[in-house]
């Protein structure tokens, strides 16, 4: 299993001798994180994302610089701090990734399936979306998360997300709340945020996209949810599905007020 492999690697790096106390293990992991944080590899994704943003591409050969991420065409600063949100032109609540895909279609002339084709990188295959999302998120660094839950469709998304958060299903009987409903719990050595606790939610929600050490690449919030459903023994979640965005709006309700610290750095 991936988790074990990576933990074994982490432990080999940070533990000088066998059988340490739990607390030392946790401290060691935090120290390791701190070391990596001084040079987050996600910086490279952010830089590539900025390049992609400014480069004319697609059938129309234009850049994304006039993309409206919610604060008006061309405004990137602070936009991610207010996503997901409702967009009248698509009549949908959209997150960073689905909105970027919209701009690739409307501005650059890509077909929708082209814009959504390669959301998650694999060894030897970059994902433009991971880079673009890193760039857009980083442009809100240091700002407070302020996701609006006011428009009827935003409120509806919140209510749907709430239902999905508690919806148990599949051979493991899991819902989101199975792992994220209590404070101070862990899966193996990985701490689990209680996503309805503002203290936890504000730290977690604001740190995606993030460079994942275990995967050697930047992953987005869409990927985080896809990965959760994978662990929950659910099928493959559709990229930018309505459910994924509803869950983000639900999480954002508790994360609002937190400071954007993306792209983050995670196990």
């Amino acid at each position: 299993m991936r988790i074990e492999r990576v933990l074994a690697g982490l432990l080999a790096v940070i533990l000088p001798c066998a059988a340490p106390a739990q607390q030392d293990t946790q401290k060691g992991i935090e120290r390791y994180r701190q070391l990596l944080a001084e040079g987050n590899p996600a910086d490279l994704w952010e830089a590539r994302g900025e390049q992609l943003w400014k480069t004319p591409r697609g059938p129309k050969n234009v850049s994304l610089e006039q993309c409206d991420l919610g604060l008006g065409p061309g405004v990137v600063k602070g936009a991610a701090a207010r996503l997901p949100r409702y967009f009248p032109d698509t009549d949908r609540v959209q997150d960073i990734e689905s909105r970027l895909a919209t701009c690739m279609v409307t501005l650059q002339g890509f077909k929708p399936e082209e814009a959504l084709r390669n959301p998650f990188s694999a060894p030897g295959r970059h994902s433009d979306m991971e880079a673009l999302a890193s760039f857009v998120a980083a442009e809100s660094k240091g700002m407070k998360l302020d996701v609006p839950i006011r428009h009827p469709k935003e409120i509806e998304a919140f209510r749907i997300g709430e239902q999905l958060f508690y919806r148990r299903a599949g051979p493991y009987d899991f819902a989101c709340v199975s792992c994220h409903g209590e404070n101070g719990k862990r899966i193996r050595l990985q701490e689990l945020p209680r996503l309805t606790d503002p203290g936890d939610a504000q730290k977690i929600f604001t740190s995606w996209p993030a460079y994942r050490v275990s995967q050697g690449t930047v992953r987005t919030m869409q990927h985080r949810l896809y990965d959760c459903y994978w662990q929950m023994r659910h099928p493959q979640m559709d990229y930018t599905s309505e459910a994924s965005i509803a869950l983000m709006v639900y999480m954002a309700k508790y994360a609002n007020g937190g400071t954007i610290n993306a792209p983050g750095l995670k196990r």
Binding site: K153, Q163, D238
Partner: protein, 205 residues
């Protein structure tokens, strides 16, 4: 006074209604949205998560905290599903139990080999043998489980039943119903019983 609703005012009123979704309406919409979420995945897996069984539906509805009479009803129907091994042997081999407890394989959409047995993922949530320091804390520690309780038939039956269907004794438990849901076989469960109860198991040393 005669009032005429302008389209703008009507729109606001309709929007206002939309914000007043009842819980039932929110649930119905969430169900629709959920069914539209897994269109590219394995159809069999999708059918399985689309359709909740009674316990899953009730625990979702009550957010894992059902009123006492609902909890009693869930425990009753889940207890009725308990099946013990026909051999009558509840305690297997703790060494195999340890392997199953460590193993997280199975039933994810990237797990391609149906012939490879599923793991139990036990250490993800429980402390068990003290040698394994990478354990989760979602469930209670099981270290010294048998040392504290012995291994008489009653406790063997309890542990077997807990793993087979955790909700038979605790409605809306976080723990998967490993036997009832077909994640683990009867034999695998007996090995896990041994891991917890066998006096030779490192759990009880």
């Amino acid at each position: 006074m005669k009032t005429i609703l302008s389209p703008a005012v009507a729109a606001v009123l309709i929007a206002g209604c939309a914000t007043q979704l009842s819980d039932d309406e929110a649930r119905q919409r969430a169900e629709r949205v959920f069914r539209e979420t897994f269109t590219h995945g394995n159809r069999q897996m999708a059918a399985r998560v689309d359709q909740q069984d009674e316990a899953q539906a009730l625990c979702s509805l009550y957010r894992n905290d059902p009123p006492r009479e609902i909890a009693a009803k869930i425990e009753q129907t889940q207890a009725a599903t308990l099946r013990y091994p026909t051999s009558g042997k509840l305690m297997g081999d703790w060494r195999q139990g340890e392997k199953i407890a460590q193993d997280g394989y199975g039933m994810r959409f990237t797990d391609p080999d149906p012939k490879r047995p599923n793991g139990g993922n036990c250490y993800n949530c429980h402390q068990i043998a003290p040698q394994e320091i990478s354990f989760g804390t979602v469930g209670p520690s099981l270290y010294r489980f048998g040392k504290l309780r012995g291994n008489a038939e009653a406790i063997q039956k309890y542990v077997y039943g807990k793993i087979y269907n955790s909700e038979a004794s605790l409605a809306c438990s976080n723990m998967p119903r490993f036997g009832h849901n077909g994640v683990l076989t009867e034999e695998q469960i007996t090995h896990l019983v041994a891991l917890l109860l066998d006096p030779d198991s490192p759990v009880n040393k």
